[in-house]
Amino acid sequence: MVGEAVAEPSPSNRGALPTGFGALDEALRTGGWPRGSLALLDAPRGAGATSLAIGSLAAAQEAGGIVAWIDAAGCLDAATAERLGIQLEWLLVVKPTSPLEAVELAGWLARSGLVDAMALDLGESPDQAGGNGLVAGLDRLGKLLVRGRSVALLLTGEWLRAAVARVAAVRLALEREAWLAVGRDLVGQRIRATVTRHRWALAGETASLDLWFGEGRRIDALLPPLAVPREAAPALAPVAVATAVAETEPEEQPDLRILSA
């Protein structure tokens, strides 16, 4: 029929997987991660991308789904994931030998249609990257996902972010707003999540997320009212400065003790 648009997958007929954070679900305007999407969590190190991914996988499990963690970076600690809300029984851990293989395995899982959500952690180091092959693989993964109902959350370092940004259906920029502290103890961090790209909805919305160390979303009910936002970059203690200078990267080092992290 003339004038009729080609049936583009829309949020209404795709459905969505909850992110585990109500504010983010609203910001995405699709009620969560749209099914069949490759979502890039664009965040510097320590800005909560891994916690957000684990929280999203836990929420998918609560909705009756099976999830996978494709661990090309080799950073997943199952015990920590469990503490953050993941049911290990329904978690498939994939350990590929290279980022390229990780993308290929993700494609297979997406094609099976039996995994609802997967986190694809490609790590920080570009040593084993297959260059253009990796981006092409991710492009292919994105197309496979669109045909299915799985959601892939992509965690990667700066080396790949720019290249991946154009193949991701959803891009979420994460930035730390503040530490959350109770007294002198750091108990979490407040993250500002900005939807910078969305294939099926209007981008630009932001959400403020509180990520609690150690306990994920299953936090003590008493903790949030007690927590006070602090400066995002607290001053370094003298001793910490001495050791931190010797390190390669002057990362933010709060002078506070971290509880149960």
């Binding site: 499990q61 009756g64 789904g65 099976i66 600690d77 199952a78 015990a79 920590t80 994931a81 469990e82 503490r83 290990l88 029984e89 329904w90 978690l91 498939l92 851990v93 994939v94 350990k95 590929p96 030998t97 293989e101 290929e104 395995l105 297979w108 899982l109 099976s112 039996l114 995994v115």
Partner: protein, 386 residues
């Protein structure tokens, strides 16, 4: 007239030592537990199927075979029993004892009494048979002690209080008197003491197995060279099953080698599968891995070369209707995980082992968090722990 052969081996839990009054009637000491667990009972029963179509597995340590009418073709009962014991011993070298009687109770009792025949050097198998006819059998039973009856301790004590020590004494009492004193169970024991057992032998249904065997003439170099034939064998068996709306749950591949022991690869499917291509690929993957592990290489004057394959045998069993498969209930993920396992099998074949893992809480109270959870390999026919 029915004749039943009972075979018992040491896993049988006989009467406790305190109940065994006569040393001659006491069962021999049980074999070590590891021997018990290693006995392949289904394979033993499969062998006995060749003797008679009516075989019943009563317990892990007792099998009954209906040998009625086998005399003209196989010889007397002792010869039949010797043959049956030899068949069982081909699967597991166990001290099997054999007994023959008119019903299942008499057959098992005869097998228990077979120990008395053991000292006879002319007899290779511990064997005992009750004579034909109930009257003759009762005459033999009459002198046997009551401890041989499957009675509970209280009943045994009451028998002793009444001065009953042999089966003949119990059998001679009026049935109504036994019922009044010992109840229904007493009546049942009296019937056994009289050599009566109404329970029929219920033959087991022989598990179906489809097999295909291909012989190579001349032998093929290396296990890899058999892949094409294996694919064709898988396709043929799957086609045969497809017509009957059945699918195998397990595939067993046996590779006969020229200068090395046979290689057996077993593959249990996560669900009944009728995909010959994937079954063949999984079997080939396992076969090559097994051959690497076994270092199947022969040394020839020209140097080291791969072992030559003489024949391959493929068997499909655990047949079931794939449409009638019951998935685990109550957990949303359980059924889908079973389906996923099949995909993981394929992934493991495509990418190799060690890629796919499943996490589980191993030691929740471990002091170090990294020791609380562990990973188990999935995607193969086993789940390895790390």
């Amino acid at each position: 007239m029915t004749r039943i052969l009972a075979l018992i081996w040491p896993t049988l839990r006989t009467a406790p030592a305190s109940h065994a009054g006569h040393a001659a009637h006491r069962a021999p000491a049980d074999a070590p537990a590891e021997a018990e667990s290693s006995v392949d009972v289904p394979a033993m029963l499969d062998r006995l199927d060749d003797l008679s179509p009516r075989v019943e597995a009563v317990d892990r340590g007792v099998a009954l075979v209906d040998v009625t009418g086998l005399g003209p073709s196989l010889g007397d009962e002792r010869r039949i029993a010797t043959r049956a014991v030899a068949m069982v011993r081909e699967v597991a070298t166990l001290p099997v004892r054999a007994g023959v009687g008119e019903n299942r109770w008499l057959a098992v009792l005869a097998a228990r009494l077979a120990l008395t025949a053991r000292p006879d050097p002319a007899v290779s198998v511990a064997f005992h048979a009750f004579p034909d006819g109930l009257e003759a059998t009762r005459a033999v039973l009459a002198s046997l002690p009551l401890v041989l009856l499957p009675a509970d301790p209280d009943t045994r004590q009451r028998f002793a209080l009444f001065g009953l020590t042999t089966m003949g004494e119990l059998a001679a009492l009026p049935r109504s008197a036994v019922g009044a004193q010992f109840g229904v169970s007493g009546e049942r024991l009296q019937a056994l003491a009289r050599g009566e057992d109404p329970r029929p032998l219920t033959p087991r249904r022989r598990p179906e197995r489809l097999t295909r065997r291909v012989t190579f003439e001349p032998p093929v170099e290396g296990v890899g060279g058999t892949a094409l034939v294996l694919r064709r064998a898988c396709a043929e068996l799957c086609d045969a099953l497809k017509l009957r709306h059945l699918a195998p749950g397990r595939a067993i591949l046996t590779i006969d080698l020229e200068d090395a022991p046979a290689l057996t690869v077993e593959l249990t499917f996560p669900e009944p599968a009728l995909e010959p291509d994937w079954i063949a690929r999984l079997l080939i993957g396992r076969m090559e891995a097994a051959s690497r592990t076994r270092h199947l290489r022969a040394t020839s004057p020209e140097g080291e070369e791969e072992a030559r394959v003489v024949a391959i045998g493929l068997a499909f069993d655990r047949l079931s209707d794939p449409a009638a498969r019951q998935l685990p209930a109550f957990q949303a993920q359980a059924g889908r995980w079973e389906e996923l396992r099949w995909s993981l099998e394929r992934l493991a074949t495509r990418f190799g082992e060690g890629r796919l893992w499943r996490a589980s809480t191993e030691r929740p109270n471990a002091s170090l968090p990294e020791r609380q959870a562990g990973l188990r390999s999935v995607g193969g026919d086993r789940e390895d722990e790390t």
